[in-house]
């Protein structure tokens, strides 16, 4: 690439390295010249207003949308060769819940990438599935049809599938949408234990109030990358009011809340 990369190179290989990423669906790019390096083993929240390109960012990392410009490297490997090292948890609305498939079968789908087309799942695959179900505490529901679960349980099944997939990088699209507070907690615990295993997690999130508390780093995006850093670095008044265009009337309050929660989170 002729254009030099901004941002200093760190000694360790970034889990995700995005350089000059531009993605478009029409004349207006959904993402414009986004460059960021996400270090391994962190929990990153992607925030920004509706239509800011949060989901597009995730899809670009997955290689699911065409890039106009730019390079993506997953753990040092170009994205197109990194298939299988990334696991993805879809939005709940994207799934047909009446599909005749059980919880265990859904989680087993995460292993399909490890199988040649003539192979049947083996003991190792079954163990990985059981371990993943155990981790999200869904073992007792393994033989239920997926439509018979509550919203939070369904979300956990897809987390388990991503874990069974064994990717070092996990991408989650709005996992907290439409689940109640206690489920949100339970999901967050799963995210943290996945992080504890050394995985890198990128989570699309829409709630600014909880963003500071939940994530190690935040990525503020609205077509362009506005900031990437710790919650304190990102949740700045000037940045947020620019991105949210003053639509964030209760903004002062939100920021204080976020800062307070960050302190509380850091205290113990």
């Amino acid at each position: 690439m002729a254009i030099s990369t901004s941002g200093a190179r760190t000694a360790t290989t970034p889990a995700i390295e995005v350089q000059h990423l531009t993605v478009s669906y029409g004349p207006r790019p959904a993402l414009l010249d986004v460059s960021v390096a996400i270090e391994p083993g962190v929990l990153v929240g992607v925030i920004g207003p509706n239509g800011a390109g949060k989901s597009t960012f995730i899809k670009a990392l997955l290689g699911f949308v065409k890039r106009d410009v730019g390079q993506i490297k997953i753990l040092g490997t170009p994205a197109e060769h990194a298939i299988g090292r990334i696991a993805y948890v879809p939005q709940r609305g994207a799934v047909d819940w009446d599909f005749p498939v059980t919880v265990r079968e859904v989680v087993m789908m995460g292993r399909y990438g490890h199988l040649r087309w003539w192979q049947d799942p083996g003991t190792a695959d079954r163990q990985a599935v059981d371990a993943a179900l155990e981790m999200v505490r869904m073992s007792e529901f393994a033989d239920r049809q997926i439509g018979q679960l509550s919203g939070g349980q369904q979300q956990r099944v897809f987390m388990a599938r991503a874990l069974a997939q064994g990717g070092e990088v996990l991408l989650l699209d709005e996992p907290f949408a439409g689940v109640d507070a206690s489920t949100e907690r339970a999901l967050l615990d799963v995210l943290h234990s996945a992080k504890g295993q050394g995985r890198t997690l990128v989570v699309v999130h829409h709630d600014l109030v909880t963003a500071a508390e939940y994530f190690d780093k935040l990525l503020l995006v609205k077509q362009r990358l506005f900031a990437y850093g710790t919650p304190a670095q990102v949740l700045r008044e000037d940045l947020l009011s620019e991105v949210y265009e003053g639509r964030l009337r209760a903004f002062e309050h939100l920021r204080e809340e976020a800062a307070r929660k960050a302190r509380e989170g850091a205290a113990p």
């Binding site: 997955l62 290689g63 699911f64 298939i83 299988g84 990334i86 696991a87 993805y88 879809p90 994207a94 799934v95 047909d96 599909f99 005749p100 498939v101 059980t102 079968e105 859904v106 789908m109 995460g110 399909y112 990438g113 199988l115 087309w117 003539w118 049809q145 599938r161 997939q165």
Partner: protein, 506 residues
């Protein structure tokens, strides 16, 4: 009897055309049904129907090409290939139209398939002297007159499709359920989609010679839909669909033989009837099951009224007649509810009538507490005396624990309702084994203090770890009178009593 059985079931088997139809029909129907499972799960039924119509153009084209260039009359393989090419072209055109214009996919299918069907019909009529396709047979099918060539072509197509589905079951499953994941795993989603469409075209071509182009879509989706009502696993759904398809062919052919009707139509009729029966009797997703489930659900109000009435009777058992006439509910529903309450262990049947079990008493007391608290609340917010009971009777059905506890709290945990009756204590919380606020305890209850909240600590000498016992409440001042271990007494107001948590003695 025996002669009749012989005539109905065995005699047809001596006919070669019947055996051939049985064999060919089952083969095609089973494969149709297996592919149909994927078709209905991906909501492709309309596409399947469209593809079957498009076959006409393909078959006519294949026929003409074979005739003019190779001088082969009615070459089955040529027609099969022609049909395949037509369907792949059609799918590509449908995709193209819905991509480049604002036309949605189902509309694009409608536009394209009628156009191609018309092209086929024009070809067949213009070259009517060259093409010896019986249009009627093409549309209605002729399972009882199936030719050996057709049978062979169908067998090859079916074997190919079935092998594809078995070998790549996982790929079809995941691409149908979650194409994004399939792509993320590096599976060729587009290729899988085309493979599925090709499979659909192949089974449609083989099915048309049996049941005709109108009915073939039914052969594909009806057995699959029937199976879908019975299972929650794709693999089992495919097995069941295959079974239903086979039984439709067998049942339909015997039906056709018995009443001398068109074979294809009889097969589809049998298949549809099968679906209707399963729709009614399916154990989980059937109509009957749904109706039974609703019937088993008792109206909550009725249950609560019954428990209330029996509780009011005290130690005396309440006769069935009293329950039936005393509540103002529909008598049969009341008696059914009473029976269910006995089954559920809330009521017990005695010689003189019905009495509450221990569990039933707790439940009834809980409802009574809700009623009396609501009554107290209503009188405090200024409801006229005469309306109190009626209103509270309606409100007592709002007895969710947290809501009632909140009403109890804002009323200052009253002991008596406006009529002077005792309000039952909050035994749900005090018997839960968890610490409770002193304000929930009644006289003579005691326990060990586990926490004194900072806000309360300034106003009371009580300390963590201390044993206490409640004396009768000072009702005039609404203060809680607490006896300490050394016999001395402290009084707490509501806020402080809320701030002291006690592990109650069992």
């Amino acid at each position: 009897m025996n002669a009749w059985l012989e005539h109905t079931f065995v005699a047809p088997l001596h006919q070669e055309f019947f055996l051939k139809a049985l064999l060919g029909g089952t083969l095609v129907a089973v494969v149709c049904a297996v592919v149909g499972c994927l078709v209905i799960l991906r909501r492709m039924a309309f596409l399947g129907d469209a593809l079957s119509h498009i076959m006409l153009a393909g078959v006519a084209g294949g026929y003409l090409v074979m005739k003019f260039f190779f001088h082969e009359e009615a070459h089955a393989g040529g027609m099969l290939v022609g049909a395949l090419i037509a369907s792949v072209l059609a799918v590509a055109m449908i995709g193209f139209v819905s991509r480049v214009s604002r036309i949605k996919e189902d509309t694009a299918i409608g536009v394209m398939y009628t156009g191609l069907f018309a092209a086929g019909a024009v070809l067949v009529t213009v070259y009517s002297s060259e093409i010896h396709i019986d249009l009627y047979h093409f549309i209605m099918g002729d399972v009882l007159g199936v030719a050996d060539d057709d049978l062979r072509a169908s067998a090859i197509a079916s074997a190919l499709v079935l092998s594809l589905v078995i070998l790549f079951f996982r790929h079809f499953q995941i691409a149908s359920f979650d194409p994004v994941l399939a792509a993320a795993l590096g599976l060729p989603v587009l290729l899988i989609d085309y493979a599925l469409t090709t499979c659909v075209s192949l089974v449609v071509v083989s099915g048309i010679s049996m049941v005709g182009l109108i009915l073939v879509v039914g052969l594909m989706i009806t057995p699959a839909a029937t199976a879908y009502l019975l299972t929650d696993r794709l693999q089992r759904m495919m097995w069941l669909a295959a079974g239903f398809a086979a039984s439709s062919v067998v049942g339909g052919l015997y039906l056709a033989y018995a009443i001398d009707s068109s074979g294809g139509a009889a097969i589809m009729l049998f298949c549809s009837l099968q679906f209707l029966v399963v729709l009614v009797i399916a154990p989980r997703y059937g109509l009957l099951a749904g109706w039974l489930r609703r019937r088993r659900m008792l109206p909550q109000e009725l249950v609560e009224d019954i428990l209330g009435l029996v509780l009011k009777a005290g130690a005396r058992a309440v006769s069935a007649g009293e329950l039936r006439d005393g509540l103002g509910h529909e008598p049969r529903a009341t008696l059914r509810a009473v029976k269910r309450l006995v089954q559920d262990g809330l009521l017990e049947a005695r010689a003189e009538g019905y009495a509450l079990t221990e569990q039933g008493t707790l439940q009834a007391r809980r409802l009574q507490r809700a009623h009396r608290l609501w009554e107290t609340y209503l009188s405090q917010v200024g409801t006229p005396e005469a309306e109190l009971h009626g209103q509270a009777h309606k409100l007592e059905h709002l007895h969710e624990e947290a809501s009632v506890d909140y009403i109890d709290h804002i009323l200052g945990h009253p002991l008596k309702d406006p009529h002077g009756s005792e309000i039952p204590p909050d035994f749900v919380d005090t018997h839960s084994g968890q610490p409770v606020m002193v304000s929930l305890l009644r006289k003579d209850q005691g326990g060990t203090i586990v926490e004194v909240k900072p806000a309360a600590a300034t106003y009371t000498p009580l300390k963590k770890g201390e044993r206490i016992k409640l004396r009768p409440r000072n009702v005039a001042a609404n203060r809680w009178v607490v006896e300490r271990a050394d016999g001395s007494v402290v009084e707490l107001d509501h806020a402080v009593a809320d701030g002291v948590l006690v592990q109650p003695d069992p």
